[in-house]
């Protein structure tokens, strides 16, 4: 600690240069925190997904509807506790550009399958007794300024009513939230029965089925049994656990870890030269001062350590700031990706700080060696 004032003073000898270098390091480590945090958040999303909840859709693609009659046969499969269903609505509010995610559901079975979504009992009752009732997600309500009791005229880009009208009239009878923050609350849910009776086409079909099972170990076997029920029919299904489905969706983006590491490596490589140059200039400007330290008994190793310590302090303070910025702005971003409730993982912070120290030592190694090899006599003579 007694050397700290000496190190600190050396660091701030060229204030502008030090501040600019620090800003570069702050930016680089904020990027590091965000990218690695994003990668970790995706893992968090996968972990948060249930493996006791299966998801069944058309084997052709998600836009192909499945008959509602599938539900009864799915419920007969051993190990399946409950089956619920969901139909995309493709809604918009007032303007076609203001699209609203709307899902037509069966509230009773849906509530049983999603215990991680909190709906007050009176809202469920209201949905059951109001045919055109709707439950609004907490985030969506905030975004649109909606509240319980509001009448909600929605249009749909896909579904017209039997009378040919595009307009649908709903009444918000309740809301839902996700205490864990792991389920997006940016949708509006309407009663499937009301929607199905009123729509002009594709009646008696659904987009998705959700199946609740009690044994996660048998998820794959139950999925196979469900798909086998409809094999070689006109409405074949593809069933998998929610966790596997999300993992497959993320894998479609590509090898995220590779991209993240490649970007970070490129940034760090470039930054190494910036920091190394700052330290080299700093050492060059202080050659007589470093010689004086040696004159007064500081060993070659001690002088080298002072230069390395300056670099470590500069980089670790800047990296801590950068990672701190990433830690503050990450949770809202994770929430947008459906990983609400997650913070920047401690492992990312620890790896970042370790990397900052390694980076500081590597970038300052040449200036530190120069300081170590400095000849007192030559330095004092200005040679």
């Amino acid at each position: 600690m007694k050397y700290l004032p000496l190190i600190w003073a050396g660091l701030w000898r060229k204030r502008v240069s030090t501040v600019l270098t620090m800003l570069c390091v702050v930016f680089a480590f904020a990027l590091f925190g965000l990218l690695h945090g994003f990668s970790a958040a995706l893992d968090g999303i996968i972990d948060a997904m249930s493996d006791t909840r299966l998801r069944s859709m058309s084997r052709v693609n998600i836009t192909q509807p499945l008959p509602l009659a599938h539900r009864a046969r799915m419920q007969m499969v051993p190990g399946v506790d409950e089956v619920s269903y969901y139909n995309f609505f493709a809604g918009y509010y007032q303007d076609r550009r203001n699209s609203i995610q709307v899902g037509a559901i069966d509230i009773a079975s849906f509530n049983a399958i999603y215990p991680d979504i909190k709906i007050e009992p009176q809202y469920i009752e209201a949905m059951l007794h109001t045919r055109n009732g709707a439950l609004v997600g907490e985030d969506l309500a905030k975004e649109q300024g909606w509240k319980v009791g509001d009448r909600l005229p929605l249009g749909s880009a896909v579904w017209t009513r039997k009378d040919g009208a595009e307009n649908w009239d709903f009444e918000i009878v309740g809301s839902y939230r996700s205490p864990s923050g792991r389920v997006p609350t940016s949708e509006l849910w309407i009663n499937y029965d009301y929607f199905d009776e009123a729509r002009a086409a594709a009646n008696g079909t659904v987009t998705l089925y959700f199946l609740k099972i009690h044994d996660s170990a048998s998820a794959a076997a139950i999925s196979e049994r469900v798909d086998a029920l409809f094999a070689n029919s006109t409405n074949e299904t593809q069933t998998q656990s929610e966790k596997d489905w999300v993992r497959a969706q993320i894998a479609q983006i590509g090898d995220i870890a590779f991209f993240v590491n490649a970007i970070i490596l490129a940034v760090m490589f470039a930054l190494c030269f910036v920091t190394g140059n700052t330290m080299m200039q700093s050492v060059r400007a202080r050659i007589p001062e470093l010689a004086v330290l040696k004159t007064y008994g500081f060993s070659n190793t001690a002088v080298m350590s002072l230069v390395l310590a300056e670099s470590v302090i500069l980089c670790s303070v800047a990296a801590a700031l950068g990672i701190g910025i990433a830690a503050v702005i990450s949770p809202p971003i994770y929430r947008q990706f459906g990983a609400g409730g997650l913070n920047l993982p401690v492992a990312v912070v620890a790896v970042g700080m370790g990397l900052a120290i390694l980076f500081a030592i590597v970038s300052a190694s040449l200036p530190a060696l120069r300081a170590q090899r400095l000849s007192i006599v030559d330095a004092l003579a200005g040679r």
Partner: protein
């Protein structure tokens, strides 16, 4: 008196480009404890090289150097560093203070290598600054001090670890006449009352006059100061 510095048959040269230049030729010198010796001579004569050898900043090519009972020519670079920290205080022509540190922090530098506590270091620094008459300038940075004041801070730094030997390289070379005289009087005081042994390189005969012995280095050899030089 006993010898503090004993130099026997010391040879020192440097390689500049492809040429080897011998700067000191078979120098013999003894400096007694408590002496104030002035080394004079023209530029390039080798006086600073000799001073560097006495201060343990450099090692001879040949010969024997004993200072404060230690064979400097046999010490490694690390051992020399430790020896300097214990035994020598340095004063330079251009003060060589660290510009970003306050006067007291500059004076504290040699003490950082000791095992003294922070409170003890503060006490010693305050005493050294008091001795050179700069107690009221402790919090000032070098840029806020005059040349004479900066040199006094440098002297306080040289004294703070209580070394046996003070090595001064043109300590008044950058100062006006009046300030030079006050610095030289301070060195004289340290020699007479604190019993510091001082070896000082100077071009200035007036400065040399403060020393108890004057030596003349010319073309790498040592002689007593010729008449007229130290008058």
């Amino acid at each position: 008196m006993t010898a503090l510095v004993s130099i026997k048959q010391v040879v020192k040269g440097y390689t500049r480009g492809k040429q080897r230049v011998e700067v000191l030729h078979s120098i013999d010198l003894t400096v007694e404890r408590g002496e104030f010796v002035a080394l004079m001579g023209p530029s390039g004569s080798g006086k600073t090289t000799l001073l560097n050898l006495i201060g343990g900043l450099d090692r001879p090519d040949r010969g024997e150097i004993v200072v404060a009972g230690e064979r400097l020519d046999q010490l490694s670079s690390g051992q020399l560093a430790k020896w300097r920290a214990r035994n020598v205080g340095f004063i330079f022509q251009f003060y060589n203070l660290l510009p970003v540190l306050t006067a007291e922090r500059n004076v504290e530098v040699p003490l950082l290598l000791t095992k003294l506590s922070a409170a003890e270091r503060r006490r010693n620094v305050a005493a050294a600054l008091e001795l050179v008459g700069l107690a009221d300038r402790a919090k000032h940075k070098p840029g806020e001090l005059s040349g004479g004041q900066q040199q006094r801070v440098a002297i306080a730094r040289a004294l703070v670890a209580d070394p046996t030997l003070l090595v001064c390289d043109e300590p008044t070379g950058d100062l006006d006449r009046e300030t030079s005289e006050s610095i030289l009087k301070l060195l004289e005081l340290l020699n007479e009352h604190q019993h510091k042994t001082i070896v000082m390189v100077t071009h200035d005969p007036r400065a040399a006059h403060f020393a108890s012995r004057r030596l003349y280095v010319d073309k790498g050899s040592l002689a007593n100061a010729p008449l007229g030089v130290a008058a």
